[in-house]
């Protein structure tokens, strides 16, 4: 079990979400990097990946047919820091000169977790534990495995559909947009959340417990928790919208 208690070690001023490849690839496939950009600009949420995930995703977008041709989109997101890489440059503004020490801690934790979950997952969860940052992953088997062995993972664990539903709640995506995303993922053989597989977005939404919500908007999705690890975090806009502002 980890001795690190992330919350005691670091309380970054910026909320950071660290993405696993499973979510990054669905973002790439559906072309939804704009969600991450809006999260950054409107809610001050920085999206990031660990170097292991950067490598994994790069290899997949080159080799897996359904992702081919989307490499540039991914590179662009890295270049403009829509998706930051957890490295010294990323950590320096958060922890100052201790960045190297944080990197070493993440590396040590990642190497330890690598015995149980895959390389990308291991270093993603390691960064999440050390930095006390949320993780976005669709692979609940990795989360279950780590929780079962006593790892203290920051919660909630977000899924791709939490980002989509959040985007719908705050008005970035319409119901039709969300359903188109659902249909597209289905078409390319990507797993949708059970609420949205074989159900339209409209039909599935009442059964989906949104783990990421906006405190300034009416509630969305199921009111009660539906599955293991269901917990909710509510975000508040950095600069609240003026009352008359169009959405």
């Amino acid at each position: 079990m980890s001795n690190l208690q992330g919350s005691e070690l670091l309380q970054p001023k910026t909320l950071v979400i660290i993405f696993d490849s499973s979510v990054v690839l669905q973002i790439i496939a559906t072309g939804q990097f704009r969600i991450l950009r809006s999260l950054q600009s409107d809610f001050g949420v920085q999206s990031a990946i660990v170097p292991a995930v950067e490598s994994e995703v790069s290899v997949i977008v080159e080799n897996v047919p359904k992702f081919r041709g989307r490499r540039e989109q991914f590179k662009k997101a890295l270049r403009n820091r829509t998706l930051a890489i957890v490295n010294r440059d990323f950590l320096a503004p958060l922890v100052g000169t201790a960045a190297d020490s944080w990197i070493r801690q993440i590396d040590a934790e990642g190497t330890r977790l690598y015995d149980f979950v895959d390389r990308g997952e291991a270093f993603t969860h390691a960064a999440s534990i050390v930095l006390n940052a949320l993780v976005a992953t669709n692979d609940t088997t990795a989360v279950s495995r780590l929780v079962r062995q006593g790892e203290t993972l920051p919660s909630p664990t977000l899924r791709f559909w939490d980002l989509v539903v959040f985007s719908h709640q705050v008005g970035w995506l319409s119901e039709n947009d969300c359903d188109a995303i659902r249909q597209f993922l289905d078409k390319i053989g990507e797993r949708n959340h059970p609420c949205f597989s074989s159900h339209s977005f409209q039909d599935g939404l009442p059964h989906f417990y949104a783990r990421l919500t906006c405190s300034e908007e009416p509630g969305i999705g199921a009111a009660e928790t539906q599955e293991k690890f269901d917990e909710r975090i509510a975000l508040t806009r950095v600069n609240p919208l003026p009352p008359e502002a169009p959405r």
């Binding site: 290899v59 990642g110 015995d115």
Partner: protein, 410 residues
Amino acid sequence: MLKQVIEATRLSPEFCASLLRVPAEQFRLWIDGKQPIPQFVIPEMTVVLGISEINLLAKNPAGHADGGSLAPAIWFKLRSEELSDADREFVGLVRRLGFFMAQLEAIRGTRSSRTWRAVAQSVLESVDRSAPPAVQGRDAAVNFRAAANLEHGKTGIGELIRPRLRQVGAVVIESPVPKSSLEGCCFSIGREGDLRPCVFANTFKSTWFRRNETLLHEVCHAIFDLENDPVSLDFRERPKTATDLSEVRARAFAQECLVPRTVLVHYTNQFGVQWQCLTPQDTAKLIAAIHVEQTTLLRAAYDGGFISEDQRQKYLAYDCSSALREMSYHAWTTREFLREQAGESPKWIAQNRGTTVGTRSLRLPAGYVKQVIDTLNIGEISIGKAAELLMMDRYTFAERFGDLIEPVAA
């Protein structure tokens, strides 16, 4: 140091990149020293290359221009001109598999490297190292048959070799390497302090009967030679009369493991074999029962005093192939086997065990694949980890094994 090590191994940077699952251009940056090697890749890199982390990260390596002095021990011999890129890349692939096998064992709480060390030690202690090499090989075989639980009455042990070797901690790989003259090899795999042997037999243009001998030949090298020589290589066109001590010993070991005199006596009695007037039909029957190829069977019969040299030469000329195909499914081609056995074993055993890195493919051991799926289904590893252990991306994994994953794991 990475640049010098990669050059010394004669592996291409592109292949190394795909072996380590990183983009080629990123690997280039590490080689050129333009970016530090990130920690996430170091555990795999050190095991595959056989180099310590300290040496890998050293900035000022000492060595000659040809890089030979920098080649990790395992790769030094693999630099040989006799070997092709295919051979070297195949070894890289298997060493990566060894890394994952060790991980799976750690997850499952087993340490078969210890079992192997105990078995090898007991065999070594029973052998007089000053005795002639063939005697050493035979004595070692007698002890190995007992230690590895290969004494299966007095019958052929071909069907027991692979599971028993795996039980005692050896990694057994049989896979086609078409552009290679390599028939078999063995080398250590795993993490330092947790090493175990990998014995490999090339299935390209080979028979199951032949590979039984090849695998046991390599086992002998693993027992006697791996400590001082990190890799043992055997080529298809090896001389008929070996002069090298370790080769003579390994040949005697394999023969004695497969065809000890007691087995020949048993079948002589059971089949009523008339050795003086052996027919092609009789020969095929003996091959099918004893699980060795014709050459080995007749060499053992000659060594056991059942036949003369003239008779051995005469019987060697027999064409037993069609009779053998009637008697043993091990003599069937892969296509024939799959056609006949379809539906009797899960689809993945026949079709879905291949993994590819760059242009190289490897057929994963069925038992290993099953262990990974079982470990996933009891929640000990994540789906991503299962895919990683089988050296495939999660999409290929889901496509191939999705039906076998129980809902709790999915």
